[in-house]
Amino acid sequence: MKIDSEYRELAWQGLWKNNPGLVQLLGLCPLLAVTSTVVNALGLGIATMFVLICSNVAVSGVRNWVPKEIRIPIFVLIIAAFVTCVQLLMNAYTYDLYQSLGIFLPLIVTNCAIIGRAEAYASKNPMLQASFDGLMMGLGFLLVLVVLGGIREILGQGTLFDGANLLLGSWATELRVEVYKLDSQFLLAILPPGAFIAMGFLIAGKNVIDNKIAQAKPKQLEQAIERVRVNFES
């Protein structure tokens, strides 16, 4: 029963309450740079999720042998190793997508969401929970990427899943949905400023939902003891 609630808490934190994209605002650089289409976003999101799960497992596995003083370089090395794997895999199997993601694929190494989870959760918890945490955080990040990519693709080109064949193989060409026909692209949505504006709206939307939920809840009696929670593990 205790295990169950812990997993539920992990999922809730990763997907909504402590979402790396919307709340922690980590890894903004790839988030804003590559989400011009759903497929790019999906590609980078899956790659990030894969790295996050693997690095969480590995960091959690070696957590008892890593000296505290040099843990960060070791974590970075572990992450870099997995990023290299992903990069080589994508280079081999989804070459066009690899080309269109460009520098942002190797830059996953510097994604703060990954090192943040390694430091804050995986280095202190057993492997199973760490891998589940990686899955949920990665999924949360992936969802934000895909939603942002969807908004920008619809606004910018009026399509959805354009170029899905780059990621999924040639059968996926049929997935392309033309929502409406544009004579000229709305370049702002495709350029980085549009990503910032859309991201702002997403965060605002999340806050609105949170406020609505908080208002709907019956007010609880205020507890006397208060403390600042820096992170949710405790």
Partner: protein, 354 residues
């Protein structure tokens, strides 16, 4: 018996935001009239569409934010933004350009930052830049002055061009822009810029039909119109003289130096003053009290920086005109300028050696 003594100032002037905004809108009339006289109905149509969209957008956002709708909707600030945006758009731009621009100006640039008085950027110019980078094709299809058109462009033709892209006779915007001799006509600034890349001198560019006798048919009179409107605002003390003066003199000095150094590849000082959006920018956009600098010294720096940027972008940048970009860059610099040009408080720092 006690006299009631009010604190100073004793001499009141009950001027309101709406009064000031109305005055500025009236002052744009000479310029808009010149624009109508030389370029036809296009911009008037855009201005009216922009006003309607801006009012609808302002109304919906104000009601979403739970603000008092009547005073804020009718204070004229949204209308002024829409008028300035409508003036700056190409006359034959499609209708959705105006709608998107006007919505962006009011909803994102103005209201999301907190409404009138809180916006860090000039809404009209931010919307213009957004449109220019989003729709480069539509936003550079400038209509040549009516006197050069091979086709007679009436109100109904312009309306149909804006809404469908074709006149009732079936001419497209591109055909309208074509000279009798078969080349596409550009704005004077664009003509000079393109000709310099083609190896022609400025003097040779001045022979171009769009330039006419002085600095561009229509454009010169539009700038004169906005200059007149600006002088009217100055006499009414609606705007302070510092920003326009420092902007225009900075532009004058920059173009004068370049003209002295290389007269073949630099346009004259007056060409820079009386083409493009110079006068509109100097008197109506840079003087925006919200997004500009506040102190006298600050405004001098602000205007001078804008003049320098306009010159640099016109001369070396990728776009022919630069007022909108210069204004946005200066808006970003305004807080910094204010930081360093804070006026001395009376009684402070007297005789203090640094």
């Amino acid at each position: 018996m006690a006299f009631w003594i009010a604190s100073s100032p004793h001499n009141h002037e009950q001027s309101e935001t709406s009064g000031l905004m109305r005055l500025v809108i009236y002052a744009t009339i000479p310029g808009i009239f010149a624009q109508w006289y030389f370029f036809g109905w296009g911009n008037l149509i855009h201005i009216s569409m922009a006003i309607i969209t801006a009012l609808v957008a302002e109304f919906s956002i104000l009601s979403l934010r739970g603000k008092k709708i009547r005073p804020q909707l009718l204070d004229g600030s949204a209308i002024l933004t829409a008028v300035l945006l409508g003036i700056s758009l190409p006359a034959l731009a499609p209708w959705w350009v105006t709608i998107i621009g006007s919505l962006f100006a009011i909803v994102i640039v103005k209201q999301l930052y907190g409404g009138l008085g809180h916006n860090p950027f000039n809404p009209a110019m931010a919307a213009y830049v957004m449109l220019l980078i989003s729709f480069p094709v539509q936003m550079t299809q400038w209509q040549p002055p009516l006197s050069l058109l091979a086709i007679d462009l009436q109100f109904s033709d312009t309306l149909s061009l804006i809404f469908s892209g074709y006149t009732p006779q079936g001419y497209s915007v591109e055909q309208i822009r074509t000279h009798v001799d078969g080349f596409t006509m550009a704005t004077p600034l664009d003509t000079v810029k393109t000709n310099i890349t083609l190896g022609l001198t400025v003097v040779e560019s001045m022979e171009s039909p769009v330039i006419g006798k002085h600095f561009g048919i229509g454009w010169e009179w539009m700038n004169v119109g906005f200059l007149l409107g600006g002088l009217f605002l100055l006499t009414k003390k609606a705007i302070h003289w510092t920003t326009p003066l420092s902007f225009l003199s900075s532009l004058f000095i920059c173009s004068f130096i370049a003209f002295i150094l290389s007269p073949d590849s630099s346009a004259s000082t007056m060409f820079h003053w009386f083409t493009g959006a110079t006068m509109l920018g100097a008197f109506f956009i840079l003087t925006d009290p919200v997004s500009g600098a506040t102190s006298v010294k600050g405004r001098l720096v602000f205007g001078a920086l804008a003049g320098l940027l306009v010159y640099l972008i016109r001369k070396f940048g990728g776009y022919p005109d630069a007022v909108a970009f210069a204004v946005l860059l200066c808006n970003m610099a305004a807080p910094l300028i204010d930081q360093y040009t804070r006026p001395r408080t009376y009684g402070h720092n007297v005789g203090v050696k640094k």
